[in-house]
């Protein structure tokens, strides 16, 4: 079952690189916010997979806190783009 983890992590790495390219290139600020949202979702699922591979239970807590902080950050960025902050 090692080959499945190699395939999944390489797909996640290519996806992260593609969203980083959009984050650097994006013509408006909303494009950058969308790319950041996708990147944070990818990193959360990668953290849960790393908890399985290293057999550390504590990494799942890290993933949960990262998901909550990413959600709050995206909401704050959306309010700022709208002009309400």
């Amino acid at each position: 079952m090692n080959i499945i983890f190699i395939i999944v992590f390489s797909l996640m790495a290519i996806g992260s690189i593609l969203s980083m390219i959009r984050f650097i290139k994006g013509p408006r600020s909303a494009d950058r916010a969308v790319a950041l949202d996708t990147l944070s979702i990818t990193i959360t699922s990668a953290l849960v997979l790393l908890a399985l591979i290293f057999e550390r239970y504590i990494y799942i807590d890290v993933a949960l806190v990262y998901a909550v902080l990413g959600f709050i950050g995206i909401i704050v960025i959306a309010r700022y783009i709208e002009g309400a902050l």
């Binding site: 079952m1 499945i4 983890f5 395939i7 999944v8 992590f9 797909l11 996640m12 290519i14 996806g15 992260s16 593609l18 969203s19 390219i21 959009r22 408006r28 909303a30 494009d31 916010a33 969308v34 790319a35 949202d37 996708t38 979702i41 990818t42 959360t44 699922s45 849960v48 997979l49 908890a51 399985l52 239970y57 799942i60 807590d61 993933a63 949960l64 998901a67 909550v68 959600f71 995206i74 909401i75 960025i77 959306a78 309010r79 783009i81 709208e82 002009g83």
Partner: protein, 117 residues
């Protein structure tokens, strides 16, 4: 019995990785902010939920804490994508209208009139 659950978990992890990659590809290739938002958020939500649920099936002692993350993602990701789409429309970006309609335009003008009068 446990081995069958484990194989289902590995299959879910593989499907989740493929969908995460497809979401990032949509972010890179789509022509507009709204289409990018649709591709990125829908595919990434399915990919992340499938991957995390697969980890919960492989290691059954972690299932409940993993389920908390899955439920939180199912609540939070549509909410954040909705907030981003609405704030982008209010910023003044019009959608990429090749074959589509802008259905929010009329309601948005009515809202503006109600706020200003």
């Amino acid at each position: 019995m446990m081995e069958i659950l484990e194989y289902i978990g590995y299959g879910l992890v593989l499907i989740g990785g493929v969908f995460l990659f497809l979401g990032a590809l949509g972010i890179y290739r789509m022509p507009d902010i709204y289409t990018r938002l649709q591709a990125g958020t829908k595919a990434s939500t399915l990919g992340a939920m499938s991957t995390i649920l697969g980890v919960g099936l492989i290691q059954p002692e972690w299932f409940f804490k993993v389920l908390i993350i899955v439920i939180f993602m199912g609540l939070a990701n549509p909410l954040s994508s909705h907030a981003l789409a609405r704030s982008t429309y209010r910023m003044g970006v019009t959608p990429y209208l090749k074959n589509g309609v802008d259905a929010y335009k009329k309601a948005f003008k009515k809202q503006i009139k109600k706020f200003t009068s």
